[in-house]
Subunit: 222 residues, 2 copies
C-alpha cells in the first residue's frame, strides 16, 4: 500500500492528501513526529519534514512540491497542474504563493507557534508572532477573496493544485479555530466549494489530541 | 526579446539565468529594485520578488520554480529535470532543499542581512543572524560535499536543476566573499566543475555597486 508520512495539521501534508484523494489514489497515513528526528525517517527525507510519499514499488518522494509534481506525471488522468504552458505557469506561481508566502507570514506564526512548538517542547508560543500571524491572515483572506471574485478557482477557470495548497493551510488554521470567515465572504464562498469536495472529507474527520475543532470546522454549510 | 527581471545577487534569479544559458535561450536582464515595490512590477508578480520571466509572446511567469518548470516544458531539448519519474522526484527534492533550507538558513542570514537590508534601507545587519548564517553555511558545505562524493552531480549522474539551485546560492555568497572553500574539498571540486560551464560565465562578470568580489570569484581554478 502507498504510504504518506504526515502530521495531521501540516498544511503541506494536507495538500498532498487532497491531491491523492482527488486523483482517487488509495494511501495509508503514517504519523511522523518530525521533532524526534528518527534516523530511519531522515534517511528517506534528509530535511526531516513531512510529507514523504512511499510508493508501493519502493519509490520514496520527499517534499510536497516534488510529490505533487510526481503525482501529476505518474497519474495524469485527473490533472491538477493545468494543460497549457500558461495555465501551468499560473498554477505553479499561485501554489508557490501559498506554500511560501502564506506559510511564512501566517502558518509559521500561528500553526507553528500554537501547535508544533508545544508538541516539540520548544517553549511557549511567542505573542508577537501570533499577533503578526493574525494580521497577515486577514490580508491573505482579502487576497483570496480578490482572486475568487475574478476567477472560478484561485489559479483560473479550473480546480487546481493552487486551490488545494490554499485550502490545506486554511483547513489547518480552521481546525485550531483561528479563522474568522466573516472577514471576507468571497473567500468563504470559495472555501465552502473546495471543502464540499469528496477529497476533503478525510481532513474533516481528523482528530488531534489537545485540540477540539470549532463546530463549523466539519460543517459544509458553515 | 525575452526579459528576465532580476537582482544581480538574488540566488533565485541566478538559478534561472543558469537554466536559460544552459538551454541556450537568449534573454535580456532588467534590474528590479524589489524594495521599491513598483506597481507595474507587482501587477506581473504580486509577491514582488525576483525573478519574473517575460516571454516574447507576452507570457509572464513569476517565481523561480514556476519559471524553471516552464522552461523545461517549453524548451525540452536540453532537459534539466531528469527523464524517469524517480530522477525527476530526486531532482525536485534536492532543488527544494537549496531553495528552501539553504535559502532560509544561509542566504537569508548572510545575503539578506549584508546586501538586501542595506540596499533597501532596512537598518543594520543583525550580527546574530550573520553568525547563524556562517554556522549553517559550514554544515551545508559539508552536506554538498557528502552528496558530491557519492554522485557525479548533486541529484544523480547528470547535471540538473539541483546543481544550478545550489551553485546559484553559492555564487552569490562567493561574490560577497563569504565562502571558505577550504572547509570541504569535495564541495569545492563539484563547484569548480559547475563554475567552468559556459552557462556560468555571465554570472562571473556581474558587477554590483558597493561590492568587490574576492580574486578567486571569477577564477575557474580557484
Amino acid at each position: 500500500m502507498r504510504i504518506l508520512h504526515h502530521l495531521p495539521l501540516s498544511p503541506f501534508a494536507r495538500k498532498v492528501r487532497l491531491v491523492l484523494a482527488e486523483k482517487r489514489l488509495p494511501f495509508e497515513l503514517k504519523l511522523e513526529r518530525t521533532w524526534e528526528r528518527r534516523p530511519e525517517y531522515l534517511a528517506m527525507n534528509p530535511a526531516g519534514t513531512v510529507p514523504t510519499l512511499v510508493e508501493e514499488n519502493g519509490l520514496v518522494v520527499p517534499h510536497s512540491n516534488a510529490i505533487c509534481e510526481y503525482l501529476d506525471e505518474a497519474y495524469p488522468d485527473i490533472s491538477l497542474i493545468g494543460r497549457t504552458l500558461a495555465e501551468r505557469a499560473e498554477i505553479r506561481a499561485v501554489t508557490a504563493w501559498f506554500d511560501e508566502r502564506f506559510a511564512t507570514e501566517v502558518s509559521r506564526n500561528l500553526l507553528y507557534e500554537k501547535v508544533m512548538k508545544p508538541a516539540a517542547k520548544r517553549g511557549a508560543p511567542d505573542p508577537s508572532r501570533i499577533r503578526d500571524g493574525y494580521a497577515a491572515l486577514r490580508a491573505h483572506l482579502g487576497h483570496i477573496g480578490f482572486l475568487a471574485e475574478r476567477r472560478k478557482y484561485l489559479a483560473g477557470a479550473n480546480l487546481s493544485l493552487a486551490d488545494f495548497a490554499a485550502a490545506a493551510h486554511l483547513s489547518a488554521l480552521d481546525f485550531i479555530g483561528d479563522i474568522d470567515w466573516s472577514v471576507n465572504p468571497a473567500a468563504r464562498e470559495w472555501y465552502a466549494r473546495i471543502k464540499s469536495r469528496p477529497a476533503f472529507r478525510p481532513l474533516l474527520n481528523d482528530r488531534v489530541s489537545g485540540f477540539t475543532p470549532p463546530p463549523h470546522y466539519a460543517d459544509l454549510d458553515f
